[in-house]
Every structure is written in C-alpha cells, then in structure tokens.
C-alpha cells in the first residue's frame, strides 16, 4: 500500500510524475514527428510507397496520439494540485491508467504499422484497445472527481 498518508502530498507527487511524463512524452513524440517528416523529406519508400498506406496512417496516429496524450499528462499534472475530489485509491488508479494509455496507445499504433498486412495492422495493434479502455476509465475517474470539487475549492480558499 501507499506510504503517502497526506492527500495533498500524494497529489503533488503524482502531479510531478505526470508533469515529467508529459514533457518526456512530448520529447519522444515530437521527435517521432520529426522522424516522419524526415521520411517525407527524403521520400523513403518504406513510409511513402503506395503499398504502405496503412503504415503511414498508423504511424501518424502514433505521433498524434502520443503528442496529444503527453499534453493530457501535462494538463492533469497542472490541475491535480488544485482541482478534484479524490480518494487515494481512485487517484492512484486514474494516474496509473492515464500513464498507461499515454504509452500503450502510441506504441500500439507504432508497432501495428511496423509490418502491416494488406488489410490490417500487425499484432502490436492490440495494445491500442487496451490503452483506450484504460484511458476511458481514467478519464471517467477524473470526471467523477470533479463532483464536489467546487465546494472543496471554496472551502480551501483563504
């Protein structure tokens, strides 16, 4: 079980974790974006040939989801110390799942595009629905945490 007994300390600790994950994710997935643009720039067939349309689409999705979910981490990190009515268990779960989704989904898209068939991505794509379900749960938990947050904020105001 968690060694954190103070809720605000837990929030601060998780916020730092998400803050770090957000910027790290941005670094990774903006680099991926740069790589994809390089593949465009040098007209690399592995990425641009007509037969590799699925790879192109999946890697773009990996780049887009990775970047967007990194921004979501930053948003969560910035809001967590100030907003939400959390129990420690729900907060840890939401944090875990949000972090999981941030790497599972883009990784799934990327692996799915590595060796796709004519009709479908390669098997790595199974990570995407797993990540999507975890993201859905995390977002639901965050949404549920907003209940009573206004009151709490009012109560904690000086």
């Amino acid at each position: 079980m968690s060694s954190f007994t103070n809720e605000s300390e837990l929030r601060a600790r998780l916020a730092r974790r998400h803050y770090l994950a957000g910027w790290l994710g941005l670094l990774v997935f903006l680099t991926l974006g740069g790589l994809l643009e390089t593949l465009h720039g040098f007209k690399i067939g592995y990425y641009l040939d007509a037969d590799h349309k699925l790879r192109r689409e999946l890697w773009r999705l990996a780049h887009a989801h990775g970047t967007l979910l990194a921004l979501v981490q930053l948003g969560f990190a910035l809001g967590l110390p100030h907003f939400g009515h959390w129990t420690p268990g729900r907060l840890r779960l939401a944090s875990f799942f949000l972090l999981d989704a941030a790497w599972l989904m883009p990784l799934g898209f990327f692996l799915g595009g590595l060796m796709p068939g004519e009709t479908d991505p390669s098997v790595g794509i199974v990570l995407v629905p797993v990540g999507a379900v975890l993201l859905l749960i995390a977002v639901t938990l965050i949404l549920l945490s907003t209940r009573g947050s206004s009151k709490e904020k009012v109560e904690s105001a000086p």
Partner: protein
C-alpha cells in the same frame, strides 16, 4: 503465431494492470476491479471469436466489388485500372469514350449520327425494319463459299428513296480498350449491338462490318448480335441469362430478364462469391486468425493448384461449350465459380468442327475430336489458336504446359493487380525473364541460341516462340502456344511462320535454310513460291483472309521494321488494297502502309465505298508509290523486274492463286 503473440501482449498488459489495481485499491478491491475490467474484455473477445466460425460457404452469394475496397484498397485500385472492369458499362458520361458531339459517320451512304442529350447518348442510323423490308439478309454462312456481295449504296437505292433512319438510345457499352460498342435495349429486354462502334485505337467511328474479320457485305445490320445471348457470359461477372419465352403480352416475341452480379469482370470473377467473406471478416479477431494463411471463405487464385487457377482465366479465355446437364436451362445462370473445375460446367473444344458437334450440329461420330478445318475461325490447321479469347488452348498445347508438371500457368506471366492494364503482364514479364523462370540456362547463351544480336528483336524469346499469329479486334496479338517455329507447322495450315513475320522480305526457304543450319531440324519440301518469293507476299497474295490479316499486321510492327528492310513494301501494299475484300485486312494493310510511309491517316478509308477507295488508292499511288525502282538484287525474294519495278506477270500469277473463301473471325 499471431494469436500467440497477441495473447502474450495481452497477458503482459493484463498483469501490469493487475499490479496497478492492487497498488491503488488494495488486495480485495483491486482484484475485483481487475476481474471486472478484464472479465468484460475477455467476454467480448470470446463472443467475437465465436462469430468468426464456422465458414459457411454453402449458398454463398455475391457482394459488390465496392465492398472489397474496405480491406483491399490497393487491389481494388489496381482492378479499377484494368480493362476487365470496364468490359461492360452503363452508358454514362464517365464511361462513354466515343464522340457523341453530333458526330456523323457515313458508311454505304448511310449517315449515322451520334448525339448527346444531357447524360443520355443516342445513335441515329439505318432502321433495321426498313432495311429488312427491302433486302432481307441472306443466311450468313459460318464459312465456305466463294466470292462476295455487290455493295449496295443505300442512298439512292430502291428507286431513289432516302433510307429511313431511326434514333436509338445507347444504354450500355461493351469494351474500353480496342473498341467501344454501343448497345440498345428493346422492350423485350434484349440489348442489341448497334452497327457503329468507336475504334479507340484510331479514335474514330467505324462500322461493325469492318470491326471483325469478315468479307464486305451490304447487310448494314449483319453484326447486330444480341448481348444477352452470348456476350453476357464472358464480359460480366456471374451472369444469368434468364430468357423469357415469350415476353408476356407479346406472343411470338422472345426476350430476356438478364441479370449479372456485376457488369464487367469484377472481383468475384476470379475470387468467387464474396458475401460470406465480407460478412465474416468484419470481425477483427477472425482477420487476425486467418492472417498470412489461406482464408477458406474466399478464393485466392495464387493459392490454387495451377490447373484450377487457369480454369478461372479459361472461363473467358478458352473456347468452351456449355455442359448442358450442369446448367439450369430455365435461368441459364453460369454455374461456374472461381476455384471449381471448369470442366464440370463446360466442354473445351479445339476446333469449330468440334464445337459444332458439341452443339449437336456436327456428324454423329462423338468419339473422335475433329481437327480444325481449313477455314476454322478460331484455330489454325495445326491446332494453334488464331484469335483471342482462346489463349488457354494455346497455352495448354504448349510443351511447356504439357511437360512442365504444373510450373506453367497463366499467373506465371500475368498479374491482375501489379501489372499495367495493357495485357496485364507481371513486372518484368515483357522480357526474357518470363522464360528464364524455367529456362535459366539460356540467360548465358542467348546469342548462341537465337543467332541474333543481344537486345535485338530476334533475341526476345517471345518473338520466335510466341509470335504475332493471332488476329482479333483489328490488330494482331501474340500466340499463347509456346512453340518452336517449325516450318512444317506453317505448311497447309494457314499459319504464317514466326521468322517471316519479322523478315518480311525473305522466303520460307530462306527461313528453312537458317533453321537447318542453326538447329537440329530436318528440311521439308517446299513449293516453288515458298522458295522463290517472300513468305509475307505469298500469304498476302495467295492465302485466305486469316493469314492475310496476320501478315498485314506485321508491316506496322516495329520489330519487323527493325529486323529488315521494308522500304520495298509500299507499292506492294498499295496493290494489295485494290484486290482486298475484307475491310479488316484493308485496315491492317493501310496501317502498315501508314507506318512505312508516314502518310495522312485520313488519306484512305478502308470502310469507304469501292468508288471512294479506288479514288483514294489512285491518289496514294501517285504520292507514295510513284516511279519507284529498287536496285536489282537488293530483294532476291520479291517479284521485281531487272530494273526494280514490280514484275506484273509474276505478281498476277501469285494473285491468281489466291483462295479467297468467306472466313469469319468473330472476335
């Protein structure tokens, strides 16, 4: 393998989530939450997996090609480029290729007018009722019979009365590569081929009397077949003829309610009915399960054994007669599906005489396969196919096929999806690589074997072993009978010799001398003309129209012009135009003349009246032939005088020996 990998990935992520649930929620609540989450996912997976089975192929039905696009986008796109797809189309602005901008084409004095009104297309031409009332067409012989009709110009005929014209709405189109034929639908559901077609190669309207190999006729509607009766079977996917005899309320009138799964040659023509395949593969788990393996819900010709794959092509590219007991004669739905044995539904025939026997019109001796008769419209005398849509028989007669133990199939050289639309040859298969697939040893000794310079037309395997001995669609095509060019196969069979389709100024004896010198073959006795004169000229002067068409086609073949001197040809070809009564041969001779002399394409109309053509020939003679004299001895096999002019006596002797019966090639 794929399923195992997916399972491991899911197991790893499931374990990770379990660990996180335990850390976040404690042991009991964590396990309950994890079980709730993964229990739901596992149930969904299980239900999806259940619906992926079984493979109920019985009673499979058709799915439109558009439904294939969702998964097979690149294959769909490559099929879109093919002429297979556009074999039959509705007459819409996107599909019509002919000039309907108030274009007028005149044949035998009849002005046919092609117009467009909005998105509808019309052809105004001779009213067949009016024609039949004045000149009932004589029964058309399949072959045989000497001489030809006297052409009747319809304008001014019949006491000076103008012909009655009728405006037909063009409903459907057949063809998009060589010709585009126009179909009119009558009240009985019959689609009639209208008498004027668009020749896409020359970008002009032509009369169908000149589109097929047939002698001149004054029957304006002689080629007006009904699409529902025969065209429908090879030019569409899963056709069902559905005759209606008689049409309700029209006693004595037979009609059709013809249906097709899809107009043109669509996905299911090669892959079989696909409705179940589409339905089953909406399930992503099923797609992963069959990935990289044969999917039993659809036919993949590449995974069939050679003969079954070839059956798919042979369904339209072989001479076939229906095996009546396999057909429901009420609906007359084509019983063949890709992947099945074609002989369950059809007989192959190897001569038109055999075809007649199969249809019950021939002699009673059913035990013997009759060889091609001298005027067969599909096969040369040695059995080699002489027209298109019989390619399978050509391949099947090849030693490569008979002795290849299944290595040779249509798909050895052709590919429906990665190839260029023209002839659908797979990448590299327009070169010697096609033959090197099995005969790799010739790669190193090509010049030694061919006795022709590397890179020259004579060093291309195709030119000797699959020469242009096939006629259809106003042009010549490669034979699909892969064979050695033997002299004896060209004696008495009508089939021009491969070597002399390139070496147009050389005699058959000259060819034989080379073959005997280069290869272990025994010489055969040749007639005087075959020893004395260029084989091409001998055919053009003496042979029937089938051989004349094939040889005439060679004069515009770049390889023939590269192989030998053709500067001599123009005066001879001009002379041949004068005596030619087959419009298709006139076209090919004129095409050859044009390619040799680079003259105005409009200077000669092979479909003009005899008077028009005579005037045009006179003008051409003045501009092209002129006082041309060839150096003596330059052309030892041409009938030339010592001063290099055409030897009239020898020329006339050759022409007098012409056997010119009526022959028909219906492709």
């Amino acid at each position: 393998m794929i399923a195992a990998t997916a399972f491991l990935v899911l197991l790893a992520s499931g374990s990770m989530v379990l660990f996180q649930c335990l850390r976040a929620l404690g042991r009991l609540r964590g396990i309950v939450a994890w079980l709730g989450l993964f229990g739901t996912l596992a149930t969904l997976w299980f239900l999806l997996d259940l619906s992926a089975y079984p493979y109920p192929l019985e009673g499979n039905s058709s799915a439109p090609s558009a439904s294939c696009f969702k998964c097979h986008e690149s294959h769909y796109a490559s099929w879109q480029r093919t002429y297979h797809r556009t074999m039959t189309r509705e007459a819409t602005p996107e599909n019509v290729k002919g000039d309907f901008n108030d274009a007028v084409f005149t044949y035998q004095g009849i002005p046919s007018r092609m117009t467009r009104e909005g998105d509808s297309f019309y052809m105004e031409t001779l009213d067949p009722v009016w024609q039949n009332a004045r000149s009932p067409p004589a029964p058309r012989p399949r072959s045989g019979g000497e001489g030809g009709p006297v052409l009747l110009p319809w304008n001014g005929g019949e006491g000076g009365l103008a012909p009655r014209l009728r405006k037909f709405k063009v409903e459907r189109l057949v063809g998009s590569h060589w010709f585009q034929e126009c179909l009119y639908r009558d009240g009985a559901g019959r689609y009639w081929r209208l008498p004027v077609s668009y020749h896409l190669v020359e970008k002009r309207w032509i009369h169908t009397n000149g589109a097929f190999l047939a002698p001149d006729t004054d029957d304006f509607w002689s080629k007006s077949t009904i699409w529902n009766e025969s065209c429908v079977f090879c030019h569409n996917t899963k056709p069902s003829k559905r005759p209606v005899n008689p049409v309700p309320g029209r006693p004595g009138l037979n009609g059709y309610r013809t249906e097709v799964a899809e107009l043109g040659i669509a996905c299911e023509a090669c892959h079989g009915p696909g409705a179940e395949h589409v339905r089953l593969n909406q399930n992503p788990l099923r797609r992963f399960r069959v990935r990289g393996e044969a999917d039993p819900s659809i036919v993949n010709p590449r995974r069939l054994v050679g003969r079954r794959a070839d059956d798919i092509c042979a369904h339209c590219h072989a001479a076939l007669a229906p095996r009546v007991q396999a057909w429901d004669m009420t609906k007359m739905t084509d019983p063949f599906n890709a992947g099945e044995d074609l002989t369950d539904a059809y007989h192959f025939f190897w001569s038109e005489a055999e075809q007649a026997k199969l249809y019950g019109n021939g002699p009673a001796d059913r035990g013997r396969t009759p060889p091609p008769e001298p005027l067969d419209g599909r096969f040369w005398g040695d059995g080699t196919p002489l027209t298109t849509a019989v390619e399978y028989q050509g391949m099947a007669l090849s030693a490569c096929y008979e002795n290849g133990q299944g290595r040779l199939s249509c798909l050895s050289c052709h590919d429906m999806h990665v190839a260029e639309p023209n002839f659908l040859l797979a990448r590299g298969m327009d070169t010697n690589e096609a033959c090197y697939q099995c005969h790799d040893s010739y790669r190193e000794r090509l010049v030694e074997h061919t006795h022709h310079r590397a890179g020259s037309p004579g060093s291309l395997c195709y030119n000797c072993h699959m020469p242009y001995q096939v006629y259809s669609l106003l042009t010549t095509h490669r034979s699909h009978r892969i064979s050695s060019p033997r002299i004896k196969d060209s004696l008495g069979t009508g089939k021009p010799h491969a070597c002399n389709l390139c070496h147009l100024d050389r005699s058959l004896a000259w060819t034989q001398e080379r073959l005997v010198e280069w290869y272990p073959v025994k010489p055969v006795r040749l007639e005087e003309e075959d020893r004395k004169y260029a084989s091409a000229l001998v055919h053009l002067c003496r042979s029937d129209a089938r051989s004349r068409a094939v040889v005439a086609g060679s004069f515009s073949w770049p390889a023939a012009r590269q192989a030998g001197d053709t500067a001599w040809a123009a005066p001879f070809l001009l002379r041949l135009l004068e005596s030619e009564r087959y419009p298709a041969v006139r076209y090919l001779v004129w095409r050859g003349l044009r390619s040799l002399a680079r003259t105005d394409p409009e200077a000669y109309n092979y479909l003009g009246t005899p008077e028009e053509r005579s005037q045009q020939q006179s003008r051409l003679r003045r501009t092209l032939a002129g006082p041309q004299a060839e150096p003596a001895g330059r052309y030892p096999y041409l009938p030339l005088t010592a001063d290099g002019r055409i030897d009239e006596a020898a020329w006339n002797r050759l022409l007098e020996k012409r056997t010119d019966p009526d022959v028909f090639i219906h492709e």
